[in-house]
């Protein structure tokens, strides 16, 4: 039975098959599509810049990010390259560490200690919405009928509702915390993913290899997750990349509204929010984190945009 494998059609690299090219080669062939497009390359470099900064901040920052040791609200100078904030903390160090919470680590309270998991809040959130959305979308698309109607009606109810308000309510209700933000991002992103997954499933389930799997009596779950899902991967991944951008956008906005990730560890939105009060005397405090958020989200959008263009050309 295992001999019949779905024909790989996504350009993001074939499904794992025995005797195919090695893992490294396949990773490289997936990555190389980025460099086909100039836009994607620029985006990739912008994202990599922040990832490198974040990784660097794990081991080194110019000064401890949470320590008030300087004069408050300094403009950029030779000691503090980007100036200091309203509590006399080094802005550059805080900006660097701000990368971690969105991209690199998630803080989870266990008992009264806090442990850090790898991978940032934005990415976990998008993974959550990807999982939930794909699951619902595939059921709706593959089972059809009443399942489709019920799920889509439920999701429409969600979509009809501005996500920022949903964030506000969820966080106002459950309190601040990395897990709450992840939950909120996952929930608000899921309907969009589900719509995409549903349309992809509707399309793919007409293919011969799906018919073949059904004929040989595979279970519905097998068909959904082993036959359809791998072939819907490309568009879903590109969409997910855009969503990471939106998630960072949302985390920034929440931080700005005073509902972001819990202090004292810096996140960019909260930095803007704190510095905003001093904007009329010194503008540096709001400029740097604002630029950081924009550049990271712009980078991710460029990357996703370029990739989508390449994928479309590839499929045409």
């Amino acid at each position: 039975m295992a001999a019949i494998q779905p024909t790989p059609e996504t350009p993001l690299g074939p499904v794992a098959t025995a005797g195919g090219p090695s893992r490294g080669r396949r990773l490289w062939s997936s990555l190389s599509i980025i460099f086909e497009s100039r836009i994607a390359t620029v985006g990739f470099l912008m994202v990599m810049f922040w990832i490198v900064i974040g990784l660097l901040s794990l081991v080194w920052t110019p000064f401890p990010p949470n320590e008030s040791r300087f004069v408050q609200n300094l403009p950029p100078n030779t000691t503090n390259l980007l100036g200091t904030d309203n509590l006399g903390r080094d802005t550059l160090s805080r900006l660097m560490v701000g990368t971690q919470v969105v991209l690199l680590k998630t803080r989870v309270p266990v008992g009264d200690r806090t442990i850090s998991l790898p991978i940032g809040v934005a990415i976990w959130g998008v993974l959550g919405s990807l999982t939930l959305g794909t699951f619902l979308g595939q059921i709706a698309g593959y089972r059809g009928g009443r399942w489709d109607q019920t799920i889509m009606q439920l999701l429409d109810a969600f979509v009809a509702f501005p996500s920022i308000v949903l964030y506000l309510v969820v966080i106002a209700a459950l309190g601040r915390g990395d897990l709450v933000v992840i939950f909120a991002i996952a929930i608000t992103g899921a309907p969009g993913v589900a719509r995409l997954a549903r349309s992809l499933t509707l399309d793919i389930s007409t293919r011969d290899y799906v018919r073949a799997a059904e004929t040989r009596g595979e279970s519905q779950w097998y068909v959904m997750f082993r036959e359809i899902l791998p072939n819907a991967r490309g568009p879903l991944l590109v969409d997910a990349m855009l969503r990471v951008g939106y998630a960072i956008f949302a985390i920034g906005t929440l931080g700005f509204l005073g509902l972001g990730l819990p202090p004292p560890d810096p996140d960019w939105g909260s930095m803007v929010n704190e510095a905003r009060r001093f904007m009329f005397s010194t503008a540096w405090g709001v400029i740097w984190p604002s630029l950081a958020i924009s550049s990271l989200v712009v980078g991710l959008s460029l990357l996703a945009d370029g990739l989508r263009e390449e994928l479309n050309r590839y499929q045409r």
Binding site: A157, A160, F161, P162, I164, V165, V169, R276, S294
Partner: protein, 432 residues
């Protein structure tokens, strides 16, 4: 078409119902004790319990949801025994509940163990007399009376057992004897057009909500009127010149603007135009309810912020659709047969290229609302977004639910308008 309309209406109601239940559950599960927020952390448990009872928060959750949806006067009426009516208070303009005793609006008060009747006179004054209504007797032999108190709640007094209640006044909490044993706060319910009282302000939700909605609609409408022509124009220009420098510039600038959060754009605009150049007001402080009409420059920065965020998105959609249309055989034919380029673009391409953006623009109103929340918070603009923000932070269920219902209507309504616009522009689509 009629069937399509009916179906969308039903779907709207189902959506509203689902959203309201969802929000209710969320608020129910997670909001902390509202009494603590209202009375402060130094209030005692008895004070909180008494206050919660007065707000009707001691009733089970499903009961309160039903009250919110269809009103509580139904079940209170069977207890009180008189029809319950509302009369408008001529000073505050708010509706107050009265029991209709033989045509006279009546409330009751328990004072020193004696029941007093307050009768609303036609000239708006209240006459206080000793009550003639007798007490009823329950199985245990205690004498009780269900009436409407001066706050407009249906309450149950028990003779000789005036409960000690804590009443929140302007001067703080005051302890009162002669209190009722049980409260049912009266309300008409959302389905009959009453959103209930905001816990935060103590006033009816609609009193605050509608002026706020008006401000937001003005802001959004102005932003819409600025964004749409500009974005469509830029999108068409970029789409016609696909791949050239002007297309690249428009696309990249559009993408950057879209990917920049509203608060970042807003802050930069404040910095540049409000603080450095001092051209326009940096905040939108309303000194009177009609401040936008008296001083329209308050709107400039909020509108610019919304414009920046929306512009890129719509322009990109229009561009993509334009590029697709310009690639079709009929456009190629028109060009090859020697038709002037301007005519090809405006007579043939644009009409078809606008189909997709118009639906997307309508769906995008949701985003505009999200943007409104942030923009209103940045500029201190008293609109619906700020209202929701405040309500969500406070955990004010009536306010959140009422605002949410308005948002759902707006979102679903704009989607319907989008669908209609689509049928008008594209005669191939018919809704069965």
């Amino acid at each position: 078409m009629a069937r399509f309309l009916v179906r969308s209406l039903i779907s709207t109601f189902v959506t509203m119902f689902l959203v309201s239940v969802l929000l209710w559950v969320l608020l129910e599960v997670a909001t902390g004790d509202v009494a603590v927020k209202l009375l402060g952390v130094f209030s005692t448990p008895e004070q909180r319990a008494s206050y919660r009872a007065q707000l009707g928060l001691d009733a089970p959750s499903w009961q309160r949801y039903l009250d919110w949806l269809v009103g509580s006067d139904w079940r209170a009426e069977s207890q009180v025994g008189f029809p319950l009516v509302t009369a408008t208070n001529q000073i505050t303009g708010e509706r107050v509940w009265w029991a209709d005793v033989d045509g006279t609006p009546t409330q009751w008060r328990l004072e020193e163990g004696e029941l007093l009747t307050l009768q609303l006179q036609p000239d708006g004054t209240v006459a206080t007399t000793a009550a003639e209504v007798g007490w009823s007797r329950d199985e245990a032999g205690a004498e009780f009376f269900w009436g409407v108190n001066e706050d407009g709640s249906a309450v149950k007094w028990v003779r000789g057992q005036g409960a000690e209640v804590w009443v929140l006044t302007k001067g703080g909490l005051r302890k009162e004897g002669d209190g009722p044993q049980q409260y049912i706060p009266l309300r008409k319910g959302l389905l009959r057009g009453d959103g209930g009282k905001s816990l935060q302000t103590g006033r009816a939700v609609s009193v605050t909500l509608f002026p706020r909605l008006r401000n937001s609609v003005i802001l959004a409408a102005v932003a819409f009127a600025v964004v749409m022509p500009l974005a469509l124009l830029l999108g068409i220009v970029a789409g016609v010149n696909e791949g050239r420098a002007i297309d690249r510039t428009i696309s990249i600038v559009g993408l950057t603007l879209t990917a920049t959060p509203e608060f970042v754009t807003g802050i930069f605009l404040i910095l540049i135009f409000g603080i450095w150049l001092k051209w326009v007001p940096a905040v939108a402080i309303f000194t009177s309810p009609n401040a936008i009409f008296e001083n329209p420059s308050l709107l400039i920065l909020p509108v610019l912020t919304l414009t920046a965020v929306e512009l890129g998105y719509v322009a990109r959609m229009t561009r993509a659709s334009m590029v697709e249309v310009m690639d079709t055989p009929y456009i190629r034919t028109a060009i090859i047969k020697g038709m002037p380029r301007g005519r090809v673009i405006f007579r043939h391409a644009v009409r078809n290229a606008l189909l997709a953006p118009i639906t997307i623009i309508m769906l995008h109103v949701n985003w505009l609302i999200g943007g409104l929340v942030v923009v209103e918070v940045i500029f201190g603009y008293p609109g619906l977004g700020q209202y929701i923000y405040d309500a969500a932070i406070f955990g004010d269920p009536n306010a959140i639910e009422a605002a949410a219902m308005i948002l759902v209507i707006v979102a679903v309504g704009t989607r319907l308008v989008g669908d209609f616009a689509y049928t008008l522009l594209n005669p191939r689509i018919r809704y069965a």
